[in-house]
Each structure stands twice: as C-alpha cells, then as structure tokens.
Symmetry: C2
Subunit: 554 residues, 2 copies
C-alpha cells in the first residue's frame, strides 16, 4: 500500500478553453483506479478543422484503461463539459453521475448517440456523496452561468481534492444556488490536499459582478427602446434569459423566445425544477400580432452562429418576424475569441436594416460566469489547499494562475493535457506524459486530428486540386492524359485554358517516357504530379494538390 498514489491527469481543457476531460486516480502506479470528470466538446473552425462537426479529447489512453474506470462525473451542463458523453461512452462504459438538470442533458446526449440513457444516474447534493472504488465524490453547489453547477469534493485515501468545475462567486445568481462561503469553509475543515481550479478569468483584475446587478440597467435599456427589442445571450445561461425576460416584463413587454436551443433549455430548467417563476411567453407565431413597441424577443446566436436566430434575423424575415429601422438589438454576452468576425457580420447586417445594436463593449449588460482573479484568491483563502492545480484555461491562464497560487504560498504547477500529476507528496509533480490529442466528429465518423484527413482538406482549400487520369494498355498510353481542375482558375499567364496546357505538358512527358517509367505506377505518378505542379507554378503561381489515376487495361 505504501506506494499508492493520487494522480490527476487532464486529457482536455488544460492548455485550451474547451473539451474538458479530467482523470483522477488512486492506487499503485500504473494500476490506479480511475474516475473521469467531464466529457466535453469544443467547436471546429475553418482555419484548423474545416468540415468537422465537433471536437473532443482523444480518449485512447482512457479506453486502453477502461477496466480501471469506476465512474464518470459531470460538473455541469455546458457543452464543453457534457457534450461528448454520448459520443464517447461506449468506449468507457462506466456509470455517469450528474445533478438532475445536468443529467437531463447528459441523458439526451446518450440518446442522440444511441446509448442507453440509464447509464446516467442522478447524483445527490453534498454533503451526500457517491462511492466509486477508492473515491467518495460529492457534488457541492457552486454558482456559474448555468443552473446546478457543482464543484466536486473528491475524497481518497490520499486526501481530499476539490475540483472546482466552472464557477464564479455569486451571492445572487438568480437561477441556481448562490455561492455559500460557509459550505466551502465546512468542506475545507478536514484539510484540502489539492484544489484543481478554473483559470478562465485569472487576468480579470476586479472582483466579479453578480447576475443580479444587470436587471436595472437592462430594464432601463428596454424601456428606452422605441420599437421592437431583441436580446441575445447563450441559451444555456438560464439566469440571463430570466434577467432579460424580467426586464422586458418590467418594461411592459410581451416576451417571445426564439431558437430551439433556448426554448429547450428553458423547458429543461422548468422540468428540473431549477426555474420556477419564469415570465409567461408567447409562441413566435403570435409575435407579429403584438405591437413592436410592446414586444421583446430573446434569441439564440450570441456568438454569430450562422444557423441561429440572431443570424437569421439579421439576414431577413425569420419565422414571420422581420427587423426594421428603429428596432434595438442587445448582445447580452461576450464574444468568444475567434467569433468576432461572425458577430461583426451580424451587427453590420442589422445596421443595414436600420437596427440599433448595443454590443458587448458595454459591460453594463453582461457579467461573466467565471471567477476573476480576486475571486480565485478568495476561494483559495476559504479552502486553504496545500496545492492549486490550474485547469480550464489556455497555457497563459494556467501559467498566471500557477504564479498566483505560488505567490500565495501554495504548491502549484502548469499541467497541460497529457501531464500526469502526482498529488501525493508535499508538492505536485509531473510523473508521466500521456499522448493527448483531439478526436474529430466528422459527419458520423470519429477521426483523429492527426489522421491527415483534415490536413488534406486544408491543402485542397489553399492550393486547389488537379485530377489527372491516364489509361495504359500493355505499358503504352492509350490516348492522352486527361486533366480536371477543382478550385483553380481556368486560365493562367499564357491565356490558354490551364487544363489544356497541363494536358499538353503531360502528353509530352508520357510521349517521351521510357518503358521502365511507363511500367512503374509509382514513379510515373510521381513524374506526372511533378509536371502538373511545375506547369501550375508557371501558369498560375500556385502548386496545387494533385491526384493521379492510372488505369491499366490488360
């Protein structure tokens, strides 16, 4: 027993914001019993992952050690924490524990992927706990921008770990439980070995503001709007949707929710009992019978998502509603880095319609769901952990958070995805590096980020694609090479059709070729490819991707 150890291993979410997936272990080295915390997704982009639907952590290591997994715990229902549960469960096959609201979402994720939703079990609230092998895990309520977020209190023979999940210190979150310092002081009483902690807002210098501070400003804004008022926020930010709806009602408006995700989230919140007094709303079909100055729409698409309601409204009539000169559109949200262009596109389209936009530059209409720097320090003071392991952040966030913790006298280090950290000693220590990567959901197929599939797509997008077909009979060309272009200009500097110039050059090459080249597919392909790229470089100044198909008749 003496060499048993307590390990922490992030597989996703450490060194990035998104696709959270963390592992804890207790036992003899290499034989630790494991629990998994969160199985989230991150979203693709055209730059790095064109055509991909979702991205999540490469779970090869976990899958290889699936027999050691005791259970999976989901801290809250954001996509970057719960989104991959259904997609990955068949490879892990351990019970999934989550609080009721989160469990609703996790079950739906399971169903969507043809998995049995009964694998998801509804967890009780701390101080009640769940036994999982050598682990005893409790869900401690903590405030965040979605209901029923939890920090996990993880007891092991090696001591108590608190896994913060995503959190802020909000005394009045409006929906979901307030942050309760007394509860956390109680949790800290036996002593905390390690706090594994959200790092998102470590660079924000001021204490975070409460959700409750927003209502008056938003009400005033809605009141001052001369015509239709539209607000967008994250569908999952149930408290914000409520703040917006209540502000609308206070300003004498009828509320209409637009966007499937938002209606579903509100329904789930009511079903889970976390939302009991949401203002009454009208269905969108009735919206156009209400005078514009008496109507408020709350819509999806705060990040400029192309298919969400805000983008649809910015383009034209959507579900019978059309925005007009004099309408007001509020982004009650912060633009996530990378989404700026999409959001700006919508703002400009709204501008073309004469709609006044109140965007995210004003802090008056949005508060963050994550703990700022002073809030992180306050949690540290309450919990007094021996060590703080930063998670849920890019490298810059983890580094700054580790520095902050050390400055406050706690042990700390930067553990990015794949770093196995031994928490057993006086100081945290990286003991092994696991291969950590990304898995893409591409249509229905899961592919590795490094498989080359997406790399080929990017290359086609940057360079265009040339196809060459050549028919050979008895090692002699039958006819001439044929060229098709995709994603390339039709003519180059010679002003002759590019495909024809290539065909001539290839015909010459084939005509001059010796028999030993013509009989060797690999070499012949290579020669043809080189010739295509040379001609392209001359004619259009680009080196395209080339596919050669040599058909041999015999």
């Amino acid at each position: 027993m003496s060499n048993d150890r307590l390990i922490y291993l992030p597989l996703g979410g450490a060194g990035e914001i998104g696709m959270n997936a963390y592992v804890y272990g207790w036992g003899a080295p290499g034989k630790e019993r494991l629990i998994v915390v969160d199985l989230g997704v991150t979203f693709p982009d055209m730059d790095g992952s064109p055509g991909v639907d979702l991205i999540f952590a490469d779970l090869a290591w976990l899958e290889a050690n699936a027999k050691r997994i005791e259970a999976i715990f989901i801290t809250h229902a954001h996509e970057d924490h719960v989104g991959a549960v259904g997609l990955t469960w068949s490879r892990l096959r351990a019970p999934v524990h989550a609080r009721p609201f989160t469990a609703l979402h996790a079950k739906r994720k399971m169903e969507e992927q043809g998995q049995n939703p009964d694998a998801v079990q509804i967890a009780p609230t701390w101080p009640q706990t769940i036994k999982a092998g050598p682990f005893t895990v409790g869900f401690a309520p903590i405030s965040h921008s979605i209901p029923e977020s939890a920090a996990l209190v993880i007891d092991t023979p090696g001591g108590r770990v608190v896994h913060s999940g995503d959190f802020k210190l909000d005394p009045t979150p409006l929906v979901g439980e307030a942050f309760d310092p007394a509860l956390y002081a109680e949790i800290a009483r036996p002593g905390i070995r390690a706090l594994v902690c959200d790092s998102t807002n470590v660079f924000s210098p001021h204490p975070g503001r409460s959700e409750a501070t927003l209502g008056p400003a938003i009400t005033e804004l809605v009141q001052s709007a001369p015509s239709l008022f539209v607000a967008t926020t994250f569908a999952s930010n149930v408290a914000r949707v409520r703040t917006l709806a209540e502000a609308g009602v206070a300003a004498g408006r009828t509320i209409c929710l637009m966007g499937r995700a938002m209606r579903r989230m509100i329904e789930a919140s009511v079903e889970a009992g976390v939302l009991t007094d949401f203002p009454s709303t009208v269905p969108v079909e009735e919206a156009d019978s209400i005078p514009r100055q008496n109507l408020m729409l709350i819509v999806t698409g705060s990040q400029g998502e192309r298919r969400a309601a805000s983008a649809a409204l910015s383009r034209g009539k959507y579900l019978g509603v059309e925005l007009k000169e004099g309408d007001t559109f509020l982004f009650s949200s912060k633009t996530i880095p990378g989404n700026e262009k999409s959001v700006i596109r919508i703002i400009n389209q709204l501008s073309e319609k004469g709609v006044d936009v109140v965007d995210d530059r004003s802090d008056a209409y949005h508060v963050s769901g994550h703990a700022n720097r002073p809030d992180l320090m306050r949690l540290n003071e309450i919990l007094r952990p021996r060590m703080v392991i930063p998670m849920h952040g890019e490298h810059r966030h983890l580094r700054e958070h580790a520095r902050l913790a050390r400055a406050a006298g706690m042990g700390s280090l930067i553990a990015i995805n794949g770093s196995m950290v031994d928490l057993t000693g006086d100081e945290p220590r990286i003991v092994e590096y696991i291969e950590a990567g990304r898995t893409y959901l591409d249509g229905k197929v899961q592919i590795g980020a490094m498989d080359g599939v997406v790399r080929d797509r990017i290359r086609m997008a940057l360079n265009g694609h040339v196809l060459v077909t050549l028919i050979m009979e008895d090692d002699e060309p039958l006819g001439e090479p044929w060229v098709e272009l995709r994603g390339l200009p039709e003519t180059g500097t010679s002003k002759a059709p590019l495909a024809e110039v290539m065909e001539e050059d290839l015909a010459q090459l084939v005509g001059r070729a010796k028999r030993n080249l013509l009989s060797d597919d690999e070499r012949l392909e290579e020669e043809l490819r080189r010739a295509v790229r040379r001609t392209a470089e001359d004619e259009i100044g680009k080196k395209p991707e080339v596919t050669i198909v040599i058909s041999r008749l015999s």
Copy 2:
C-alpha cells in the same frame, strides 16, 4: 454645362475596413472626368478566401471608363490604400500622384508587378496643387500612424471636397506632421461642399490620445523588465517604432530591428527624409553578443502573422535569437478583429517558453491612428462642410457617422461600395448603383470573387472530395468504376474501406444501367455522382464533392 455634376463613387472601403478605392467625377452625367483616390488591398482569410494572396476592389467599371480617368491619388502608404497600385495600374493607365514617402512605396508596388515606376509622380504639399482635368488636387498633411499621410483638397467647378484619408488629430505625432487646425481652417475658408471622412473610430467616445503620451509608460515598462525585452507593432507605424526604440535607449538598451518589413520601412523613412534621428541599431547577427537585460528587439508580426518575426520567435530559435523564461514581450498594437486567434496562439506559445506577455488589453502602450468620435466632430467644426460622406468603415461605422453628421446639422448618407453619390445639390443623393465586388490575387492570377474558384475550394474543405474514374468502350463499361478519396475518412459505419463500398455501389449501378444511360455522359455522371453522395451519406454522414471522369475508348 448646366447639368454637369460632381460625383463620388466608392468601389472599395465603404462598408468594410480595407481595400480602399474611391472615385470622384465632374462633368455631364455618364461623361464625368474621373480621378481615383487610393488603390488598396485587404487580406484573405481561411473562412472566406482560402488560398488567396490578396484582395482588392473589382475595378471593372473603372476599366470600362479608363479613358475618363485623369489621375490617381494615393493618400498614404498603408497597404489598404496603396497595395493594389501595381496590380491594377495596367488597366487604368493614369498618372499616380503621391507624397515622397508614399511614392517610394507606390513605385515599389509598380516594380513588383513589372510596371513602370515612373508612372508614380511625387506630389507637392498643399497649398501647392496638381491639375487633373477639371480637378485641382492638393495633398494637405494630416496626422496618422504612418508618415506623410494626407487629406486631399479636391477643387472642382462644383466646389471643394475634402477627402480626409485616414487620420487622427495628433498635435505631437513624433514622426510626420502634426495636425494643424490653422491649416484646415484656411482650407475651409472658401467653403467646403463635402467632407468624405474616415469612420473607423466613430464608436470610440473619448478624444484620441497623442503618440507622444506613450513614451514614458513604455520606458518604465522596459526599465522594469529583468531580461530580454521584445516589442511588436505594425512595421508601417514608424512613429511607434521610434517611440519603442527611444524608450529602449532611455532604459539603457541596445536596439535591434527584426523582420524585413520593419527594416525596410525604417530605411524608406530615412530615405524619404521623414525620419532623421532614429536611434542606432545593431544587426540581428550581433544581438546574441549583447547581454539579454541590455537588449531590446522590435519585431514584426503584431497581428500574429504566421511568417513574421513574432510568430517565429514564439515557435523557437529565429535568426539566432531564442526567447526564454523571464523575457518580456509587448504587443504595442491593437488586434484587428479576425486576428484574435492568431495573436492568442502566439501569446500561449510565448507563455510555454516562460515569457511574460503584455498584451493589447492595456491602453497604456498603444494609441489608435484614427480619429475618435469627438475628433470627428472637431474636424467638422473646423471645416464646416455642407455635407459629410462617411467612408473607411463597416456599415455600422458609416451609419453611426452619418447619424453624427446629421445631428450636427450637416447633410449625410450611407454610401456603400458601388453607390454613386451626386454631391452637386443641397443634399447628397445616390443616383446610381455600380456593380461593386472583389478581385482576388491567387498566385499570379486575378480572379473574380464570384467566379466559383474559391467557392469550390471551400466546398472541398468542408465536404472532402471523391474522384471517380470509369472507362467505357462502345458504351459498355471496361472494368469497374475506380474511386479515390481526398479529405475523407478511410472507413465509415460499415467498417469496410469507404472507397471500396463506393466502388461496389457504383459497379452495381453501372451493371444495371441501360444502354441509353451508358451512352449519355451527362446523365451517367449525374447518376454516379448521386450514388457516391448517397453512399457517403450512409457510411460517413457527409455529402462530399464529387468529380467523375468517364473515358471513352473507341
């Protein structure tokens, strides 16, 4: 003469920030003599223009009316104003006028594209002017983030127009001329018919700060840095490079410039006489002989450009220099929307090296080169134009700026690219819409944005590409269809190789096909394409791009 009119026609830069290209005309409708102001580029991105090298305004209308063009005027040497001169000049063939520093850049652009640099003529400074048909044009010095920026004073029989160019109201710009209110009051004396005005910062509520305010804060920052200090900014922001270099010298450091664009810009500034007292620098080869705490690098790549010095340094050793734990890296710049991810990538890579990054969130180390809202109002008060036409902005900027001008009692409207505005009457009035679009430089070829070339690339990136070859002899298949995949997973839900599943499905289709289908290339291709997409949808949940090559032997 009585129906002669004064027109303004933006072809680029109005409804976007980038690729500025404006036209003014005087004469009978449809026969106006024309001048062109600025011929700039904008930069491509993976989202909308993968593989493209540069983007500029579609000049088809100008080319069709090339004989009416009297001259081209370039306000300043930023790429979005001068970058397309060489690329487009052969289609316009009019003399190009620019102040000496700008002319240096314009000449180089001409040379790079094989055009005669003598087409670029060095313009005198206001009150001296240039005659161009019915126009008399003067370059009035105005402060901006590059030396020798000018507003154009355009006199016509229809009155005086001031085209602001890019500007700020800086009394102490350090390099280049200060904004001189007396000069502009003098320009306003005969009365200004129209001010066509930069709108970039119309949403910034506070008066702009001077370049001179930055020195002390940057000096203090450099002094407090324990080891190597690196700063990045736009290479063209010569004043900033000087501010940074002087701060470094004041902090007792030796200065080294890294990045071709930056060295070239400083050399051009010295050559043009706009920079006379730049601190002495050491070549990069000597940098590693200087103790880190005595060295300051000023480097290119403030926008995260992959090939610039900052990105290279963030990845590893570059030109003998390697960043280390304890070094400091300052972004003395603002991240342009759309570049956030690239900049953040560099910051995280620097974080991995232990480098402390001071980023653009602090306003202490950067000031904008554009006039803020109160500055726009101040210029209006000095010039008292009858009308203000907002330019150099996205739609939201133009709209806000037009609103601001109207609130101040001036005529205004929103004129986006392609809107021909008649400035002759009491109010500006759109009289015609010209087809306005974008041209892509793709390698060596200029293609229209709507030609479908780039659309095909984007589709290949999103959907992957399947190639099918089929050989036919006398309307009978010779062998079976052959499938090649590019950018697609190798296996789908059936776990069999995807290409083989497709080949089997296609072989069945061809085997069952009647002679009238087999003899009809177009229909046969369509059937094969549909079959490929159906199989792909079943197997991988995606509908790929498909190219079919049917070879007929006879």
